[in-house]
Symmetry: C2
Subunit: 569 residues, 2 copies
């Protein structure tokens, strides 16, 4: 395209609304504009990148044998009532009514729809396996939309759903999707690590996330420093730190006025956090649950939820609920005599000696408490792993980094097919539920993640595979006929080769054109200036040095970059 | 693709929910499935056609210099309040609130969004013209969704918005879109006629619709039998039928018990409908308006609305409102002594002599009424043109046919840019509003219209340009290794040529495969059977006769079809 005909919306200033690099650059390069909190318009350059990412996803999904489908975004409540999610999905669901007062939601995910399609269209095991996917707009009314399209309320997702006749089939479908995802993220030029994940509220048996490391990521990812192990902190098992054996002392109630936090108590008792066991009280779908971890540990809510058989709403208990359970103000809860529906004790706590806990009496704590002698509960892993703990695979040390989830693959099993009575006739003539998997990629988030990994102080540095344009041809002086003639000729020849070139024929200074080209992140730049009298132009990779090359070698030089980066022309 | 891996959802039975051919065939061919009233899922085969139509639209829009954009479907109320449409857009608008109780709608059209983008991004006349388009999901809560995707509540539309510095620029942008639309519908293989249309509630100065003739169309289109004139009936001007001159007689009040309809009155007075003038009473945005047309004519509400300066809500008056205006029951309204905010008199009525009207008294009519002597009002064209009237262009006879609108091009002028203060700096350094045009194509409706024009008793007959697959390769006996080898070879060679071929390797009888291929509407079929021993296969165009051809001429035969139909390989 000729830039004189384009709506170029680059900004020199860094917009105040943006916090992270990808968001700033998407605004500055004129890729997106905000419509409302977490709702964006895609400007022409942004949409071009989005379509390129979509095409990569589409090609790899098709190559893996999946078929593209397109479901409605407007979903009737009845379908969600059938799966049981209508009532449990909270404020994240955009709900609305039509003119006849029938209830709908805007789909945040489409398990119900695809399960419904399968039960209507697939009758026999002979038709299996089937993998259907779509690239579609999703809606989630996030409590805190932020970071541009990284966490938005309207976003584009590729979601796929596989239907198999048995677990072995699902395993195969899952592995195919895993491999397709590796290819997709590779082709997009991002380093996305596949990490073990918890199955979460969506249900099912096995799941992995594709994470990109990012300081602004919303997940903690545990990596082994020795082996390939990687897992979401939600999932990574902790290893109990075994305290040195002590003789059991008599339990003592001690007045601890004004000391309610672990910090206060450490001072008061002049000891370390490790000598305490915290008792945190939750409301888990209406049940009151206490969870004990060592004073320096963090409760892992996913592990807690799973131990309780899957909790939809897990919240810290209110002061009233704490009082009902402990007969004390917040800050004095402990396991001895507590009135709760369940008491979960982190394994580490069960192996401590003579530790300090709240006394369930305002202003008091108990010293020399011991598990088994003084209280009992459900022992398990209820805390987050910490840096330096043992890798569950090799025993090496783990480290933790922030990450952003760009993809998720998930063995759902029969959770939805059973709930929605989605069955097929198997080899024995019996009606059995589909064994399902689901597989998501945040397409708009992937686009932002590519920028997070590919930018510098001047702008975006697109991998060729997803770049909005491949080559920018810049005549230095548009009033110079010879320069314009060569620039036009190169532009047309590149386009005839299948290269998506732009000609910056705007009446602007070369500096402005260079800055725009770098900000937008076009991988190659051909500058047509005075050197044409020597038959030469300047060639520059976005992240390389400027070289002077012969005019008649431009096409080959560009072609070589496509070959080098493995991008088809 | 190999059909053994495809989700094939063809139906032998005609689904009860469908009334028109395209809807029946889209269901039977497994292209769409209903999710809710007017809300559909696109199955793999349906989506392939949809994408093909989209690609044609995209190519021609790009060729016309438009740039693709993607706006959110979730639109904040504020933007619609600015244009004034939030309060006047009725029940068709899906409205919802987010978790913070902020109001949103699901966009039924995007004038506000694109005007907002233009005012933020375009500063100077130097950047003009700009034409931005999107292919996007739209939402309209239709009172009566029907005919499948022909009139649905969630549908895909291409909408474009042009921004020019003046009317001459808009004229050029509009003409470019007209030409692009002609190419698009031609390439899609449908006969769509460009007809003059009313500007309607959307406002503006000039507009045309692309209509396909259809018995189930929701518009009446007026065609001249002599020249090229074509217009929506909303727009086509009528020509007053001039009655023979009579001497004015004295007005007489006559008791007409039990006669309230024109039919009753024709009997009662033993005369013809042409001797009556009907007085219809409307509520037009709260004002009470009476409209008079000859007894055998129909009021044209669009003409009425335009005469009143644009009415948002035009409804027949209630019995109470009629009584307030006429002091009589419904059926006795007339112009003499009526109490209304406006009295609109069709020109034809103003030229009648000694006609009969309601007396504004229950049970009475007035005879020998004459315009000018007995009452006065605003004279104009307020009725529908009828078959046989004069063409406004050439004076020939017009005819009327039902049609479905697949596209609409529209000169908006400065309606939105003025309302939303969207201005740029012109050559003289002055801030002036953009001169806008908007241009829509119903993409999903176009797909259905193609089927309406291309089907037979066995199924769909896709034009090659939009067909879900180009060629179906059918081995007669999948257990015959020689047949399978040749079928596979042809399948692979066709795909290597860029032909989207499918191999029907399902374990089904040939009859089933032929039926599916015809129902889905694949343009070419290559049947690999016993004749391979003579080096031959059967070749059949979907709408042609079966021929026996040499195996090694298959590729050329297929290629020739692409050339013949002008479709690029």
């Amino acid at each position: 395209m000729k830039m004189s005909n384009m709506l170029v919306s680059t900004l020199r200033e860094v917009p105040a609304e943006a916090e992270i690099d990808s968001h700033k650059l998407m605004l500055r390069a004129g890729m997106i504009r905000k419509m409302a909190a977490g709702v964006y318009n895609y400007m022409p350059i942004g949409l071009k990148v989005l379509k390129n990412v979509e095409d990569i996803v589409r090609e790899e999904m098709n190559a893996a044998g999946a078929q593209e489908f397109l479901a409605s975004a407007l979903l009737p409540a009845e379908l969600w009532q059938e799966s049981g999610r209508w009532d449990v999905y909270g404020a994240e669901l955009f709900r609305l009514k039509d003119r006849g007062s029938r209830e709908f939601c805007l789909g945040p995910t489409h398990e119900e729809v695809f399960t419904d399609i399968a039960r209507n269209e697939i009758k026999s095991y002979k038709q299996l396996p089937v993998n259907l996917y779509q690239i579609q707009t999703k809606y989630r009314d996030e409590r805190r939309p932020r970071f541009g399209v990284m966490r938005s309320r309207e976003f584009i997702m590729k979601d796929a759903y596989s239907f198999d006749k048995d677990q072995a089939g699902l395993d195969l479908s899952y592995d195919k999707m895993h491999d397709a995802y590796v290819k997709i993220f590779n082709r997009c030029g991002i380093d996305a690590k596949c990490v073990a994940a918890d199955s979460g509220a969506i249900g099912g048996s096995n799941s992995a996330e594709f994470m990109v490391k990012s300081e602004v990521g919303e997940d903690d990812v545990v990596f082994c420093t020795c082996c390939d192990y990687a897992a979401n902190i939600e999932k990574a098992p902790s290893t109990p730190d075994v305290a040195e054996t002590e003789e059991l002392k008599d339990m003592v109630k001690t007045e601890t006025p004004n000391a309610r936090t672990i910090e206060d108590l450490v001072k008061f008792f002049n000891t370390t956090e490790k000598k305490f066991a915290k008792t945190l009280i939750f409301n888990a779908d209406g049940k009151i649950v206490a969870v004990m971890v060592r004073g320096d540990r963090e409760v892992n809510e996913v592990k807690v939820s799973n131990a309780l058989g899957g909790v939809v709403d897990l919240n810290m208990a209110t002061a009233e609920e704490v009082f009902a359970a402990t007969n004390a103000k917040v800050g004095f809860a402990g396991p001895v005599g507590i009135k709760v529906d369940a008491l979960l004790v982190d394994e580490e706590v069960s192996k401590m000696f003579n530790f300090i806990v709240g006394a369930n009496e305002t202003g008091y704590h108990l010293e020399n408490v011991n598990y088994g002698r003084d209280f009992e509960g459900t022992v398990g892993d209820f805390r987050n792993i910490t840096i330096g703990e043992k890798c569950p695979e090799c025993g090496g040390e783990v480290t933790i980094a922030r990450g952003t989830e760009v993809g998720h693959i998930f063995k759902l099993g029969t959770k939805y097919s059973e709930a929605m009575n989605a069955t097929f006739i198997d080899e024995n003539g019996k009606n059995v539920p589909f064994v399902m998997g689901c597989y998501g990629i945040g397409v708009t988030r992937t686009m932002a993640s590519i920028i997070e990994q590919h930018h510098d102080e001047n702008g975006i540095v697109w991998p060729l595979s997803v770049a909005p344009y491949h080559v920018s041809v810049i005549p230095v002086n548009i009033k110079d006929e010879a320069q314009m003639e060569i620039a036009n000729k190169l532009y047309n020849e590149l386009r005839a080769m299948g290269v998506d070139a732009i000609l910056d024929d705007r009446n602007e200074r070369p500096g402005v054109k260079f800055k725009d080209s770098e900000l937008i992140g076009i991988p190659m730049r051909v500058t047509v200036g005075k050197k044409i009298t020597d038959g030469e132009v300047e060639f520059k990779l976005r992240d390389g040095e400027m070289e002077v090359i012969k005019i008649d070698s431009v096409l080959d030089t560009v072609k070589a970059q496509f070959e080098k980066q493995g991008v088809r022309l």
